[in-house]
Amino acid sequence: MIDLLRWLWLAFLLSVPIWLGDQYYLHILITTGIFTIAAMSLNLLLGFTGQLSLGHVAFFGIGAYTSALLSLGFDLELAEGYTFVLAPKPVWFAFLCGVLVAGFFGWVIGKISFKVRGAYFVIVTISFAEVVRLVALNWVDLTEGPMALSNIPPFTLAVPGLWEQTLYRKAPNYYLMLAIAILSYLIVRRLVLSRTGRAMIALRENEPLATSVGIDVTRYLVLAAVVSAAMAGAAGGLYAHYVRIVDPDVFLFIYTVTMVIMVITGGKGTLAGPVVGGLFFGILPVLLRTIAEPEAQWIIYGVFMIVIVYFLPDGIVPAVRGWVESLQSGRPTPEPAALTGTAAAERKAD
């Protein structure tokens, strides 16, 4: 039953560009998808290890800038009379470098998170994102600052020597986004449904007990941070080569907040949560634009958020799962909502 739904959902996602004629709506779906990937990456850190990174957009932006810069090429005067010149690199190579560089910064932040926890970690990550934003804003020689990096080349798909297509149009970009989103989902799923994921959840739930049975805190926090950052970097790279312009505003705090909203309302620590939350809060603003006055749009958006958080404190996915389970077993009380996605999935596998 669940399998069937999963395949239907996939078929639906694949069919969208075929029946959705309006390119504007396709564009909305692509950016929503890119944000959903970022939300999934945040969920690995926030939902499964319990570390709240309020600077997550930094990894997104680092991926976007790295990928954009490498594909455009740049020259940089390192010392008097010596200029470092980097020729434009192929987009796929630049994209991978963006993922790696973002992952590297994830490693640094993960190492720090071992030393500082809780509120201090939140502050460190906010500061980190702000510092990166200021660098992007002020290092004009490299990043063009507020003038933005523009004319970023789009992705090119190629079979060497035979066939080549540059992805200018929306539909191919949609499929590229979808492919990376599915890959990200599978990576998170594989990780959290394994011994590695159990270690992360154990650290979130009861760190002293987890360490007492031999789980290395640093190792798993760093691992989660690296994977999470690299994934956010991939989302950033996608964004850069799709929108084809990157300015320091990609580091704005509001984007992190949006990701956090997506994760929390969807259900943190569940696999489907960020997808549901991402789609909901990605599409809601656009939907509101068509039905409400401009003044009312963000008020309604806010009300939706409060209502969800108030009535479904664990998020949409755990709540729905609870309803389904109580319907199936005929019990009136829902399952304890803090149950993780892993918990349910593993019980099913059992």
Partner: protein, 264 residues
């Protein structure tokens, strides 16, 4: 006296451990040993420093002075998970399980050390990973049977009655396959029949060649299961010996019952 083997080999030795919290001396110059296969009870009135001693041994606290050695290796400076790697696994005084995970998952988490699959192998879905997962699940079932809570496998850890949570704690600790188990008040809050079945469990744990260091207030239990008893009072060891000697030791009685007016 020691459970196995003729000559008692020292497993754990605590040498001149001192712990200060600011000006407060929690443990002062504590020295004792636990032999391989032995069950040692660590007793003392509230605030005597028993839990502090546990925290120091298992790497949750750094001693101000002194050394801890386990099987010839110094444990000083090791972090808790490294102490677990060395074979020492503890339980906690306040019940400590993974409350929002099922009982079965609790054990799987405890089995962490028994798995070897790395994140890369997991991501690539190598065939060994699946086989290992199956093996861990089998072990988890066996452990639940061993402590006698197999029928609870699907329930949430936090939803178990108190006595069974205590059993779950022990099962989680055993999952890490310790060569030495440190139990911090395992039967506190248990009723007498639960306590006596816990004592039988302890005998079976011991039959698995696990050395046990036990902190406990239930004197009947401590005296019943321990080969040796170490008595702490106000951070100092005041007596050490077989249960029978300890029960008659005037110093111990004074520590527990207080001195008469004359001595005060």
């Amino acid at each position: 006296m020691s459970g196995n083997g003729a000559a008692p080999d020292t497993a754990l030795s605590i040498e001149h451990i001192t712990v200060h919290f600011g000006g407060l001396v929690a443990v002062s110059d504590m020295t004792f040993t636990v032999n391989e296969g032995e069950v040692v009870g660590l007793i003392g009135p509230n605030g005597a420093g028993k839990t502090t001693a546990f925290n120091v041994i298992t790497g949750f606290l750094r001693p101000t002075r002194g050394e801890i050695r386990y099987r010839g290796r110094s444990l000083n400076g090791l972090r808790p998970h490294e102490v677990a790697e060395a074979g020492l696994v503890r339980t906690f005084q306040k019940t400590s399980v993974f409350a929002t995970n099922t009982v079965f998952e609790n054990i799987l988490i405890g089995l962490h050390r028994r798995g070897r699959a790395t994140a890369w192998q997991t991501l690539l879905g190598l065939p060994g990973v699946r086989a290992e997962e199956q093996r861990l699940r089998d072990e988890a079932r066996a452990l639940l049977d061993f402590v006698g809570i197999a029928q609870r496998a699907g329930e949430l850890g936090g939803a178990l009655p108190y006595g069974e949570q205590r059993l779950l704690e022990v099962a989680i600790a055993l999952a890490a396959r310790p060569s030495m188990l440190l139990l911090d008040e395992p039967v506190s809050g248990m009723n007498p029949s639960e306590t006596s079945s816990f004592m039988r469990l302890l005998e079976r744990i011991r039959a698995r060649d696990v050395t046990v260091l036990l902190v406990e207030h239930d004197m009947r239990m401590v005296m019943g299961v321990s080969d040796r008893v170490v008595v702490l009072n106000q951070g100092k060891i005041i007596a050490e010996g077989p249960p029978a000697d300890i029960q008659g030791n005037p110093e111990v009685i004074r520590a527990y019952l207080g001195a008469g007016v004359r001595d005060a």
